[in-house]
């Protein structure tokens, strides 16, 4: 187990480091060349297909009902094969969709920080996805943010609306091109889960090593609505910081966050999830699994209970595989009224030697045992994933485990 003092001292150092250096936004290119529209994701180059595939994008679109692809600052593909939902670029939606004002910057505030401010000033599209009232969409829709130019900054603003009693499943992948070393991605996403609706949102990141990434997202969940947010980041990113928030406003609304994080040397992942429980009978669960092979992970979680009778649980498990890495778990429970039921469990440390020896007694080498334990640790049972993505994730976890 990491001692509290060691972790906080090093954690402080990290926070100071990122505050001091921050992100020098002037060092990135603001302008990107325009890219032409493509009719079919199959027409992408093989290498691009592979990169997108690693970010959960099904280029054959066999198990997807619609796709949105933004390359740098151009929306190059936007198609939906279902009558139950629509996909537009947010630029188009601002013009063509009446009532977008009710959702534009309503869950996230534009003045929240320098990144939201930036995104408000530089509007470089993003997706607008809406499932219609009562629609139950079998296959997921996919949205992908792809950065092909090196050292570019991409600012996108996404709006997702699951109308009343609908069920919407989105796979959102982010990837960088083969020649990209660094860049800055700023992504605002506002989720609206209406009465009785279910929204499953799975984000898979496959960034270049020197990327700085600043997603800023929030969800507003109405009565009986369910918001499930899954985040998977098994590839290194130099500097990633996010703290998505679900505001459970409605009666019996539910939020679940699952995060799988892996930090190799040089990566700093500061990832949290927050649920604000306001509605009567609201429930939330936050689960994260963090593995460091030498990188730094700050795993945050925050449950805020505002109404009597709400229930929420926070679970954060960290495995530190190399002495140089850092995992700093910061679980927070905040009760603003009596009669709330909130709990957390956090455990950070190295792999238990007893587990390794148990597997060795069955004939596995120490490395094979470690790899199997890490694979098991990362294999969270995540709801809503299509078979192909499950398989892809298993392969990624397998590779990650084998690379120990």
């Amino acid at each position: 187990m990491v001692s509290a003092t060691a972790a906080s001292v090093k954690g402080e150092y990290i926070m100071t480091k990122s505050n001091k250096t921050g992100i020098d936004m002037s060092s990135y290119l603001e302008k990107a060349p325009l890219h032409e529209k493509i009719e079919d994701l199959q027409s992408l180059s093989e290498i691009e297909k592979k990169l997108l595939y690693m970010a959960g994008v099904d280029v054959d679109s066999r198990e997807r009902l619609g796709s949105f692809l933004q390359k740098d600052h151009s929306v190059v593909h936007c198609q939906v094969g279902s009558e139950g939902a629509e996909i537009l670029s947010t630029t188009d939606a601002l013009v063509n969709y009446d009532g977008l004002d009710d959702y534009w910057w309503k869950a996230v505030k534009p003045g929240k920080d320098q990144f939201t401010k930036r995104a408000d000033e530089h509007r470089e599209h993003g997706y607008f996805i809406r499932s219609f009232k009562g629609a139950d969409i079998d296959y997921p829709l996919q949205a992908c943010m792809y950065m092909s130019e090196d050292n570019l900054v991409q600012d996108v603003h996404n709006i997702v609306i699951a109308e009343e009693d609908s069920r919407l499943n989105i796979i959102s992948g982010c990837a960088t091109g083969p020649h990209v070393k660094s860049g800055l991605h700023v992504g605002i996403t506002e989720f609206y889960v209406k009465k009785g609706a279910t929204l499953i949102f799975t984000m898979v990141h496959n960034w270049a090593e020197d990327m700085a990434v600043r997603p800023r997202s929030a969800a507003i969940v109405e009565e009986g609505g369910t918001f499930i947010s899954n985040y998977i980041c098994l590839k290194p990113a130099r500097d990633l910081q996010m703290y998505p928030t679900a505001v459970l406003e409605g009666k019996n609304s539910v939020a679940t966050f699952n995060s799988i994080l892996m930090a190799s040397p040089g990566s700093v992942l500061d990832v949290g999830s927050r649920a604000i429980l306001k509605g009567e009978g609201a429930r939330a669960e936050i689960v994260s699994r963090a593995v460091s092979t030498g990188g730094d992970i700050i795993a945050r979680g925050h449950l805020l209970g505002e109404t009597p009778g709400i229930k929420a649980h926070l679970e954060c498990q960290g495995l530190l595989l190399k002495p140089k890495g850092l995992i700093h778990a910061i679980p927070e429970l905040e009760a603003r009224t009596a009669d709330v039921e909130m709990s957390h469990e956090a455990a950070v440390g190295k792999i238990d030697q007893a587990e390794i020896e148990y597997l060795m007694a069955r004939g596995l080498s120490e490395d094979a045992a470690t790899s199997l334990i890490v694979k098991g640790f990362l294999s969270l049972d995540i709801p809503g994933l299509p078979e192909d993505l499950k398989k892809e994730l298993n392969d990624m976890v397998e590779k990650t485990g084998n690379a120990m």
């Binding site: 597997l359 060795m360 069955r362 004939g363 120490e366 199997l372 098991g376 969270l380």
Partner: protein, 271 residues
């Protein structure tokens, strides 16, 4: 690596004057024993006498440090071999309190360790009544008896030449103890006494050796042991027929062992 000159009747396991410490404290204080191919040895002893330490030291777990003495497997010294290499040579162990491994399914581990998959695992699992645990995380939420059965499944599939069983009957209810006994007999290539129809020589050939720790001796109602030993305070103080030891321990308890030892002048340090 030291090798013993091979002989026709070389024991599968030979332990010579073994001293071992756990967390700096000496627990084994000079244990010597020899187990022949196919032989089952039962180890008795009061709590804290060093029985589990003996198994764990032979298996090579990290917390058990050999300070003196030697362990030979089929004549090869294995003092410095890592656990997995001992397993590969043909040593297997059933854990008293195995860890839970999250996200790793029992079936997955059995497949990896045995190289076997599918039906063969299912058949053995059914025999042990552990089918429902195959697709669960290893040891997650299992009761004492369920753990024993899951351990035996792993060992049967692993098919070692010598097996270390640490109190296989502990935590097992009466209904399941005969099931455990049957599974151990299968593991060791032995049939219950009533089904014995082969010659002694034939039987020896398919038999696995075992070192079985038992505090109460209950398992010996189901398993025929060839030799018995009593371990007290880190030393083997008595070697007798397993039946005689069992009888004494059942009738008089381990107090009788201490009394016998003190009388014989072997053991004067009764605490």
């Amino acid at each position: 690596m030291a090798m013993r000159g091979s002989s026709i009747r070389q024991p599968i396991l030979q332990v010579e004057d073994l001293h071992a410490t756990v967390a700096g404290k000496e627990v084994l204080k000079g244990v010597s024993l020899e187990i022949g191919e196919g032989e089952v040895h039962a180890f008795f002893g009061p709590n804290g006498s060093g029985k589990t330490t003996l198994l764990n030291t032979i298996m090579g777990f990290g917390n058990y440090k050999i300070t003196e003495g030697h362990i030979f497997f089929r004549g090869r010294e294995i003092n410095d071999l890592p656990v997995n290499e001992r397993a590969s040579l043909g040593m297997g162990i059933s854990f008293q309190r195995p860890p839970t491994i999250k996200g790793v399914k029992l079936r997955n581990l059995v497949e990896i360790s045995s190289g076997v998959s599918g039906k063969e695992i299912d058949i053995t699992a059914e025999m042990l009544n552990v089918t429902e645990f195959l697709d669960r995380d290893i040891n997650d939420g299992l009761s004492g008896g369920e753990i024993k059965r899951a351990e035996l499944l792993q060992l049967i599939m692993q098919d070692p030449s010598i097996v270390y069983l640490d109190e296989p009957e502990s935590g097992v209810d009466l209904e399941n103890i005969s099931l455990i006994g049957k599974a151990i007999n299968k593991l060791l290539g032995r049939k219950p006494a009533s089904e014995n129809d082969k010659t002694l020589k034939e039987k020896r050939l398919d038999r696995k050796a075992a070192l079985v720790i038992t505090h109460t001796g209950h398992i010996l109602d189901y398993l025929e042991a060839d030799k018995g030993h009593v371990l007290v305070d880190g030393k083997i103080v008595c070697g007798a027929s397993p039946g005689d030891i069992l009888h004494t321990v059942r009738e008089y308890g381990y107090g009788e062992c201490y009394r016998c030892l003190c009388e014989g002048g072997i053991y004067n340090d009764k605490e």
